[in-house]
Point group: C2
Chain length 477, copies 2
């Protein structure tokens, strides 16, 4: 029994005896057992008790925990919290308010003392109830796997794990252990007020279900374990898909590559959307299935543009091959090079020209003809180009498109195409067309960055004056 707890600490959670552990102790049998076992194993502990002030005996219980800690010479911190006020302020249920306050104080304490972990006493019975409640509520794999022995990162910390070492220990064994050691809990933590949903599940539903399946509790506990491991495998695949599908991740939006997203299995698509939405609003969990499916359906639609509301003001916006998750009112456009409306910039060579949203046009002269030809041949960056400056009359200018603009692309025998047609054919995002930077020389367009270079100033072996232009986004590092 103790061995199982220590195994979880050492093997699952990599916690060894040197560090300081914060233990949440309510005074009930589970947390008292946890405190006892950790103390006997020689761990370095601080007891934290949260006095919810919800029941008449709350102060008495706090006093009891103080004494229990004092008896074994362990530091004890008691926090009194205003659950009702917090619940009212955040418009949440009392149970949820108590939970949030509890973890907040446990992790505050852990932070202050540079503890290695926060430990709480959830048992196998709690786990079974949690899994069953998630099942009833319609949760998928995430919920059905139940609580984890070691959660990091968690909602409260990026580096201090939340550890549940009793997740495979049954309450009946705990009670027997305490009885044998003659340890008397402050109260029976298993609150008999069945008005609470969890207690109804515990006292009414589980016994009813056991009439159909006598080994139900063991089965559900095992189910959680199996599905946790399945989930780990799935998340590894979702991690890979995430890097394949995510184009940009910035304040205010996430941009995804739609064709790559569409190539993923339905399961992966759901987890990707879930991760995007939950990552977008810290603390948001439990995004509904309908919301996810609404998103998937929208992304799969065969339309060049559009948008759909998800939840909490979050929307998906589509622009040809890209879709964005955003909650802002401005459409995110910073991922594209853009000029200000009606802006014209004379391009210094060599030099740097600043565009909107940290985009920069950098220019240089390349002395070595061979090197320039080789670089151009190997180039994969749509935002780089080389020009034979002897074929161009200076200055080169950056401006946005004008009605009737045309380009004579290289290799098209002098035929020209309309810039507006080019932008449509190349699926240049609609919103980005108006202020897309064009590189011009007089009334000739020599380059539509990202899409097409004119044949006017292409370099060859005879070129002696070669300019190299790079359009690049310089995000502050």
């Amino acid at each position: 029994m103790i061995e199982q707890v220590v195994n979880i600490l050492q093997q699952d959670c990599k916690i060894h005896e040197q560090g300081l552990l914060i233990v949440g102790v309510s005074g009930g049998p589970d947390s008292l057992f946890l405190l006892n076992v950790l103390y006997e194993c020689g761990y370095n502990l601080v007891v934290v008790h949260i006095n919810h002030k919800l029941r008449p005996e709350a102060d008495e219980e706090a006093q009891y925990v103080r004494q229990a800690a004092a008896q074994i010479g362990v530091d004890c911190v008691v926090w009194e919290v205003d659950v009702l006020g917090f619940a009212e302020k955040h418009k949440i249920a009392i149970e949820e308010a108590a939970r949030r306050l509890r973890y907040q104080h446990l992790f505050d304490q852990a932070q202050q003392r540079s503890a290695s972990a926060v430990l709480v006493g959830h048992t196998a019975d709690d786990q079974v109830e949690t899994i069953l409640m998630h099942l009833l509520r319609g949760s998928g794999l995430v919920g059905l796997r139940g609580m984890q022995t070691c959660t990091l990162p968690n909602s409260w910390s990026e580096h201090i794990p939340l550890v549940r070492p009793l997740l495979f220990t049954w309450r009946s064994d705990i009670l027997q252990y305490l009885a044998e050691k003659q340890i008397q809990p402050a109260f029976d933590q298993t609150n008999l007020d069945t008005a609470y949903y969890r207690n109804r599940v515990r006292y009414d539903l589980l016994p009813q279900l056991e009439e159909y399946a006598p080994r139900l509790r063991q089965n559900l506990l095992r189910l959680g374990q199996i599905l946790s491991d399945d989930y780990q495998l799935i998340q590894r695949q979702v991690d890979i898909a995430w890097t394949i599908c995510l184009l940009n991740h910035e304040q205010g939006y996430l941009a995804f590559h739609r064709p790559n997203f569409e190539r993923q299995l339905p399961s992966v698509q759901r987890y990707l959307l879930r991760r995007a939405i939950e990552g977008f609003v810290p603390g948001l969990t439990d995004v509904g299935f309908e919301c996810i499916e609404r998103g998937r359906k929208f992304i799969a639609e065969n339309k060049p543009s559009g948008q759909v509301d998800l939840l909490d003001g979050m929307r998906l916006i589509r622009d040809v091959d890209v879709f964005w998750l955003t909650s802002g009112d401005d459409l995110p456009i910073s991922a594209y090079p853009q000029l200000k409306p009606d802006e014209t910039i004379a391009i210094p060579i060599p030099g740097r020209s600043l565009l909107k949203n940290s985009w920069v046009l950098e220019t240089e002269m390349v002395a070595d003809n061979k090197q320039a030809i080789e670089q151009e041949k190997r180039n994969n960056d749509r935002y780089q180009a080389w020009f034979d400056m002897d074929k161009i009359s200076l200055p080169l200018v950056l401006r946005s498109r004008e009605s009737g603009d045309r380009i004579h692309p290289a290799g098209m025998d002098g035929h020209s195409i309309k810039i507006s047609d080019l932008m449509i054919n190349q699926k240049l995002p609609l919103r980005a067309r108006k202020n897309w930077p064009l590189i011009c020389c007089g009334d000739k367009i020599v380059w539509v960055p990202g899409y097409r270079q004119s044949g006017l100033a292409t370099i060859d072996k005879q070129s002696t004056s070669i300019a190299h232009l790079i359009l690049v986004r310089k995000l502050s590092t």
Copy 2:
């Protein structure tokens, strides 16, 4: 409603209107609805009714189905089966016997008529009950995803799918549809005898659970759908892992690469073992979690050899870096080159020498010195070697090891090592050591295939008479 059914047929199952469909019709509302919808959509049908002869009204029901089919001009086949006899013979429950006989006859009929699919009328309600029953029974992801709209291959056929087009149609909608069309089912299929487990789940448990979660049925139906897709993702990864871990697959055993297996996530390891065991015994499903975990624990143990019983006479046997799944009494050894006990073979050059289990030693002379040196340098096959025949006195002989055997490996300055030590150090499987083929010349060992070549006859630029030896398993193609 009809659209949903057609969508499943066409999109999930790729079934179009040309082929012949076998429809299982009991005469109850679900299958009658299915028959009706398929008929209205213009599919080419054959009705199959299985008369289980278990209830007094069975013959009447069979007659009813005949009439219903005749009315719409569809062929109808009625099979009378001996459920009780079958159940007794195979020592299975009556429900399971009825199920097996039913599908066997449906697929026999499909086979005979070259049908494109077998269709049955399981509804969303059946699905919810199935998922709940699997949950109670302790099933993992495989069971919790419920029944599939299209199962291929299935237990009865490799190429005819089992299709369940009503899996997202609720029974209440079916009843309403039938009432509107004034179609009267032969009986209410929903048997009221709650002695059967499924009926207890249907009439007692589900309504109880709905008091805790009013949307439980919808939630469970959706859960099945989500987990089916998750399962698809997992199986794709397991497919990859299978090819990485499986060494040999032959009659009587499967051989796996233990280090590669150990590198897999716990979830993948479980699915691999499950697939191996279930593939080993056709028709076996529902391998218990304990059995799988017993296998995993055994494979993870840090011992060079050993074995563990799994179930039904199946065992895992370990031999250093390989583990085998087998049910035979003889240990599988055919994956290694082996001589018969006390066998000696004079090696013809050029020529072929036959060893046990389709292993062959092939020899040839290489005329081109440069080519031989180049080949030897690039060789990665432990079962190939090149010899300077001028340094060897013929004949070369194949024999197994004798006490005191030693080899003088190349590059060891004339020092020799004992063959027995070499075999231990190189982790040559224990069972394979005794009859491992050694290539000898007089009392000198010139090659331990797979492990070490002697320095006696190594080739160099001066070699003019070079022999090339390949030991290879030639499985019949």
